[in-house]
């Protein structure tokens, strides 16, 4: 059976790839059309990363690929053979690579402290995007943070608290008390 597009790839074709996901090396067989997002959510039970639009418009699926933030819904898994993936489930480990995952990443703690979420559905993407943004090193002011975080929608409207949380991690103490 050929797939409808006329592609010569049989429908049951799987491609072998290896990914390091939250520190764990995984050898995986994936269909060539499977997105990184669907691979994690549907096949690996890593549902912390969210699907908000599947079109790269909302940012809920943001994760770190080799330290860079990407929209996992626009990324085919086979494109990232050999990559190191960090999802929200692995953020704590990122901050404490030697130890267990009992503690939280400072950005996770700051999100709780500054009430930077309500329903929680955009939160994984906001957190990974924050870490990716800090890795990029371009944002130094509140305005720059706002701009650099505008790929992540929050329908609950927690934006000002998200900026407070990020600023707090970038410059500890900068917005202390601002969450009140």
């Amino acid at each position: 059976m050929l797939i409808e597009s006329g592609s010569p790839v049989p429908a049951d074709t799987k491609v072998g790839i290896s990914l390091t996901i939250n520190g764990e090396a995984r050898a995986l067989q994936v269909a060539p059309w499977t997105t990184l997002l669907d691979l994690l959510r549907e096949q690996l039970d890593l549902t912390g990363t969210k699907k908000g639009c599947d079109h790269g418009q909302c940012g809920a699926c943001t994760m770190l690929v080799n330290g860079t933030r990407v929209n996992a819904c626009l990324t085919l898994a086979v494109m990232r053979d050999g990559a190191e993936i960090t999802t929200v489930e692995g953020l704590a480990r990122l901050a404490n690579p030697g130890g267990g995952s009992n503690g939280l990443h400072p950005i996770q703690e700051a999100f709780i402290e500054h009430d930077a979420f309500q329903c929680g559905y955009c939160t994984s993407g906001q957190l990974c995007s924050s870490v990716g943004m800090m890795n990029e090193g371009h944002a130094h002011s509140r305005d720059e943070i706002r701009e650099a975080m505008s790929g992540n929608l929050c329908r609950c409207g927690a934006y000002t608290n998200i900026v407070d949380a990020i600023e707090d991690v970038m410059q500890p103490g900068a917005t202390q008390g601002a969450a009140r």
């Binding site: 059976m1 797939i3 409808e4 429908a11 049951d12 059309w33 499977t34 669907d38 959510r41 549907e42 039970d45 890593l46 549902t47 912390g48 990363t49 969210k50 699907k51 908000g52 639009c53 079109h55 418009q57 909302c58 809920a60 929200v88 489930e89 953020l91 704590a92 939280l104 996770q108 999100f111 709780i112 402290e113 009430d115 979420f117 309500q118 329903c119 929680g120 559905y121 955009c122 939160t123 994984s124 943070i145 706002r146 701009e147 505008s150 790929g151 992540n152 929608l153 929050c154 329908r155 609950c156 409207g157 927690a158 934006y159 000002t160 608290n161 998200i162 900026v163 969450a179 009140r180």
Partner: protein, 751 residues
């Protein structure tokens, strides 16, 4: 006494800023949402949506889809398994009058995007691929989706929607008073159709447990509603249907009613005798409910000093052909302002769309935008300051409800504290008088109002032998902070640490509570939890008194306090017994109670209950680019007791942000020839992003209210109401352009 309710006479956790108890689960990705629960034999359903808005399906060809390996079954109206026959069976707990939509019912198409087939396959991608192969032929008819074009077909809904007050009868002589008034203005106002678009698209996972039993995870703002709906539609016993939804990725009203993906998932699971998940795509989030458009006219007649002599507010809202959706659009004008000659009318007009639904502050966002813009126009027409104008027309009584007094109304404090924080006194009222670089600066204000309600709700409390407490009920935490405030209330009532309290929500095995909506959850569930905890406290006290040589032997309940896990004599902390000791001595390993919170009939007979706010907005407008930046907002809110200033502030922030969306961005655009929403994605339907949001300052003014023992009035809606008017008024102040049709987009600024 209202201000405190813990037995110590002072609150420990209530009233203080506490971080969300569900925070750790949400920041680590462990919080699971309806479409994320797994089952060993889970099949995936993908919905095929109608490409026409009106007409019928003339042919169905599912052969190609069914030939795809991995496809299990394709459901259409031609092979739909039997479900309940009567319309009545499809009416959920909050349905408006009418015949609810039934997916795959017959060949008729009622609206664009209507589900016309469900492809069920072994995995999501196969279902999605096969869905593209389902071929449907249609006979299309011309749709009517333009509210303006339907104006003449509008009617007064013959059957009223439960819980929605129709407009009161007119009073006085509105027409004569208008004619005689020295200052008159009459204008039309409009707000674009908006879609809720919670970040989590609607999804349902139905887990087939065998033996006719199901566990259902549904994106709903209250699982009891889904359970009742499924039992009624599929003829199932409620005991065989456990519906859960511990976390909801936003609702804003779209999750009040069970939506069609739940029906389809259950239909497939029952037929296939296996577990099925149906998750909607983002574009399918435009294929069901929405905030309706409304054609509004406001006519104000006033004295030269701004005192209202005549007030008329008329609205025509959209609804579907199958249900009479109704919301309160015009009554707010009569609630807010004192006037002796008032006419308020509300009609609806049938459109070829899905039934509109409640979206955050339904009706109020629409109607208050209109009246609060009109009041700003009156301020300019009379030369009276906008705050002063509102004070001159202030009322302590609700003229729309037999002139009953308000239970509390600290709106004047909102005006004064908000104005002070914003710096309103420095405003030059002259339009176009303030400029900063290339931008015009404008300051505007408006009033917000929302009903303060309470609904019958159950809750339980279970104290275990280890001193840990569980409380909960079936309502949902839609991101509002319900888990957290209930934990605070329970901890204070029994004198425990918050860490020793676990709150469970969103499970039909818990005591029944209604959907989370209308800003009623804190009052309703909060009161029920407090009462259940008090019951447990009394049980523990009885056990403590019965202990051998009990230090409480001759003490009455009203002389003890519950604090630090102990029952102590008030003012004599050394004299007491721990809860754990009391239970051990009594030989019980748990103390349990279920209680009900319900509206206070005596209070409601005597008073009307509303929350109020004053919103101040600063805009900066680049006239050459037509761009409006909202640089500063102050929202001063009077909503009774604030249980948790941290989560409460967030609720107001969120409401304000959604109000900014209403004012400047959100607009679901219909192509009336096709009867279809054209911008059905988040790239073209704009909601505020981080860069759109500058400083938002939230003030909670002191207000004591006695509608419920907690003194709370609810916060979910008040943050959004009036925000758009404050922004539109600021845009007028900046530019001299009065824009009465939201959203205020570049084209309207440049026009």
């Amino acid at each position: 006494m209202v201000a405190t309710f813990s037995s110590t006479g002072r609150d420990t956790f209530v009233g203080s800023p506490q971080s969300r108890v569900d925070g750790p689960a949400k920041v680590t990705g462990l919080a699971k949402y309806a479409g994320e629960f797994a089952a060993p034999d889970l099949a995936h359903g993908y919905v095929v949506s109608s490409t026409i808005a009106k007409g019928s399906i003339t042919a169905v060809d599912t052969a190609a889809a069914e030939a795809v390996p991995g496809v299990i079954k394709v459901f259409t109206h031609e092979n739909r398994p039997r479900t309940a026959w009567l319309n009545y069976n499809y009416q959920d707990a909050v349905a408006p009058p009418g015949a609810p939509f039934r997916a795959l019912y017959d060949d008729k198409i009622h609206y664009s995007g209507q589900p016309v087939a469900l492809v069920v396959a072994e995995d999501f991608e196969t279902a999605r691929h096969a869905a593209a192969l389902v071929k449907l032929d249609y006979e299309a008819e011309e749709p009517l989706t333009d509210t303006e074009a339907a104006r003449d077909l509008a009617y007064v809904p013959p059957k009223k929607r439960n819980g929605i007050k129709p407009p009161p009868e007119p009073w006085g002589d509105p027409e004569g008073a208008y004619d005689r008034a020295p200052v008159k203005l009459s204008q039309d106002y409009r707000l674009a159709i908006e879609h809720h678009n919670p970040m989590e698209p609607h999804a349902s996972t139905v887990v087939f447990e065998g033996d006719g039993k199901y566990t259902v995870y549904d994106k709903i703002q209250g699982v009891s509603n889904s359970q009742g709906y499924l039992a009624s539609v599929f003829g199932l016993n409620k005991d065989d249907l456990r519906v859960m939804n511990p976390y909801l990725g936003g609702g804003f009203g779209s999750g009040l009613r069970p939506q069609y993906q739940l029906f389809l998932a259950m239909l497939a699971a029952r037929e296939l005798e296996r577990s099925v998940r149906v998750a909607l795509t983002r574009d399918q989030m435009w294929s069901f409910t929405y905030r309706p458009d409304a054609l509004q006219t406001i006519a104000l007649g006033a004295d030269r000093d701004g005192a209202l002599r005549s007030l008329r507010h008329d609205a025509i809202g959209g609804t579907s052909h199958f249900e009479d959706y109704q919301e309160v659009v015009v009554n707010w004008s009569g609630v807010l302002y004192k006037c002796e000659n008032v006419a308020l009318t509300y009609k609806i007009a049938k459109l070829d769309t899905f039934t509109p639904g409640d979206m955050r502050a339904p009706g109020a966002v629409t109607g208050v935008f209109a009246i609060e813009t009109a009041m700003d126009e009156l301020a300019y027409a009379t030369g009276v300051d906008p705050i002063e104008l509102r004070l001159r027309n202030f009322t302590d009584h609700d003229q729309t409800a037999q002139d009953k007094p308000f239970g509390s109304k600290a709106l004047k404090s909102c005006f004064s504290e908000g104005a002070e924080r914003f710096g309103w006194s420095r405003r030059d009222p002259e339009p176009r008088s303030m400029r900063e670089g290339r931008e015009l600066v404008g300051w505007g204000m408006a009033t917000g109002v929302w009903e303060s309600m309470m609904m019958q709700s159950g809750a339980h409390a279970i104290l275990s032998a280890d001193g840990k407490l569980e409380v909960g009920n079936s309502t949902g935490d839609i991101g509002t902070g319900t888990y957290t405030i209930l934990t605070q209330i329970a901890a204070d009532t029994l004198g425990l640490a918050m860490e020793d309290v676990t709150t469970k929500l969103g499970d039909t095995r818990l005591p029944e509570a209604p959907v989370a909506g209308g800003s009623w959850t804190a009052a309703s569930s909060g009161t029920a939890v407090m009462k259940a905890c008090r019951d447990v406290a009394e049980q523990a006290f009885r056990l403590a008194r019965q202990m051998e040589n009990s230090p409480l032997a001759n003490v009455d309940l009203d002389r003890v306090v519950f604090t630090g896990g102990r029952i102590e004599v008030a003012g004599d902390p050394g004299r007491g017994v721990s809860l754990v000791e009391a239970m051990r001595a009594g030989g019980v390993d748990r103390l349990e109670a279920t209680a009900q919170g319900a509206p206070d009939k005596d209070f409601n007979d005597a008073y009307e209950a509303y929350t109020h706010s004053a919103i101040f907005a600063e805009v900066k407008v680049d006239e050459e680019l037509g761009q409006v930046r909202l640089t500063r907002v102050v929202s001063a809110v009077a909503a009774g007791k604030i249980l948790n200033p941290k989560t409460a502030r967030s609720q107001i922030l969120g409401g304000v942000v959604m109000g900014i969306g209403s004012a400047l961005e959100e607009e679901s655009m219909l192509d009336h020839r096709l009867g279809r929403f054209m911008n059905h994605n988040l790239g073209e339907y704009h909601v505020p992003v981080n860069a759109d949001i500058y400083d938002i300052d939230v003030i909670f003014v002191d207000e004591e209210d006695k509608a419920n023992p907690l003194g709370v009035k609810g916060l979910g809606e008040i943050g959004i109401v009036g925000t758009a008017a404050a922004i539109a008024n600021a845009v007028y102040h900046a530019t001299g352009k009065r824009i009465r049709h939201l959203p205020i987009t570049v084209d309207k600024i440049l026009a």
